[in-house]
Symmetry: C2
Subunit: 243 residues, 2 copies
């Protein structure tokens, strides 16, 4: 079973105050790049893996999706998602992505934001995703970038010339990384970009776009603390299709 940090009070009380959780998708700086990878929403049947508070589920419906299924492991997150005004075309379901089964040929888009890097059995899950998509269907997702997940001691270092750097080590050593994020012992899975991409190709997906996300100049002007994101990518975004 997947680690469920979200239902620990200490974690949840920090996490729910993140701006992207309080005010939604537009507070996530990588959202415009991820949105640009999405297929047309009108009429689409959508699954959101790791839906959290349901921000994307509601966005998909507002943009014409016919039916949305949001899946998450966290009871607290799903409770908050279900506290939104009722929409009969959005269904929330508790599920463990390590063991989840999806109905074959049941949807046009599988979306997932910053969730897959917590999943150990990713090949199993993506095989379910591939089967769940109809031909022509899309998988669009973001994960933490491997440059961000690799280091044994992640963090910025200012060198003797005053340059802010992100020291990388252990890049080729894939597998779990234990991090402190509100609470100690949060387990993430470090994978190479090539591992993500080759896994998709081996399952039959065709890659349509990659982004190693960095802020635009306009985003840095509006939010100067984003400037450090130009030094190393934090997010890795992927668009893929079942042809």
């Amino acid at each position: 079973m997947a680690q469920n940090i979200y239902d620990q009070d200490e974690f949840f009380n920090g996490y729910r105050r993140l701006s992207r959780q309080v005010t939604g998708l537009d507070s996530a700086p990588e959202w415009p790049a991820l949105r640009a990878m999405l297929p047309p929403m009108p009429g689409a049947r959508v699954i959101d893996l790791g839906c959290g508070f349901g921000w994307f589920c509601r966005w998909a419906r507002e943009h014409g999706a016919a039916a949305v299924l949001g899946i998450d492991l966290s009871e607290k997150m799903l409770a908050q998602a279900q506290a939104s005004p009722h929409d009969p075309a959005i269904r929330y379901q508790r599920g463990d992505l390590e063991t989840l089964s999806l109905a074959p040929a049941s949807c046009d888009l599988v979306y997932s934001s910053l969730t897959f890097h917590y999943i150990a059995a990713l090949e199993r899950l993506w095989a379910q995703v591939y089967a769940a998509l109809i031909p022509g269907g899309s998988l669009v997702f973001s994960v933490e970038h491997p440059i961000y997940t690799a280091p044994s001691h992640p963090g910025w270092v200012v060198d003797e010339q005053g340059i802010k750097t992100w020291p990388v080590d252990s890049y080729q050593v894939e597998g779990p990384r234990s991090r402190t994020w509100y609470v100690p012992g949060v387990i993430k899975q470090h994978r190479l970009i090539s591992t993500y991409v080759n896994l998709l190709i081996c399952l039959g997906f065709t890659l349509t776009r990659l982004e190693e996300w960095g802020p635009t100049d306009a985003q840095i002007n509006a939010t100067p603390e984003l400037a450090e994101e130009k030094e190393r990518p934090m997010f890795f975004l992927v668009g893929a299709k079942k042809i």
Copy 2:
């Protein structure tokens, strides 16, 4: 016109002593991974962009290629390539990859090892490559990995815990990097993995495999100094097809 460091005596006298230049492909630790991406050689018409001393051209012929065209900017390299025993099916040609034209639908494989990160007009060159390939043809290449090319001051740093790290900065800032490699002022082009991949996709290529190369345990046992290559990837390998 592309920078031609190879014909400077000082550079050439260092470069030609690299083990991969002296004893060929098997001295390049990433060669087994690159070779695994190649299509069958028997009968293939092959172009090698940045052929250097012609090691790959000769390998392709030894493995059944019908005709091989090796292109390089360096007169010294081509002179050494042509000093090998004559093979009428291998043709060496001096050419500048910044402005090269290739005959349309003329080949089955375009190969390039550690050359494209020197090219500024890469989109123009790859459009030529796409047109030169027949449907079903392959592009297989290696470049320096963006983690390797990004830093403003590249090099290993041992932190206070004794951990060897590769500090990354300027990752999102694509463009030229001036390096010292035998001589100062060697210009490389830093590009993101996503830039390489999206350019291929936009030109019509289908991605078949990526590798962020790292040494195998057997390679480290045989050559212990390769161990540091597990900390950060130096090479990025790509297989793509014209469907």
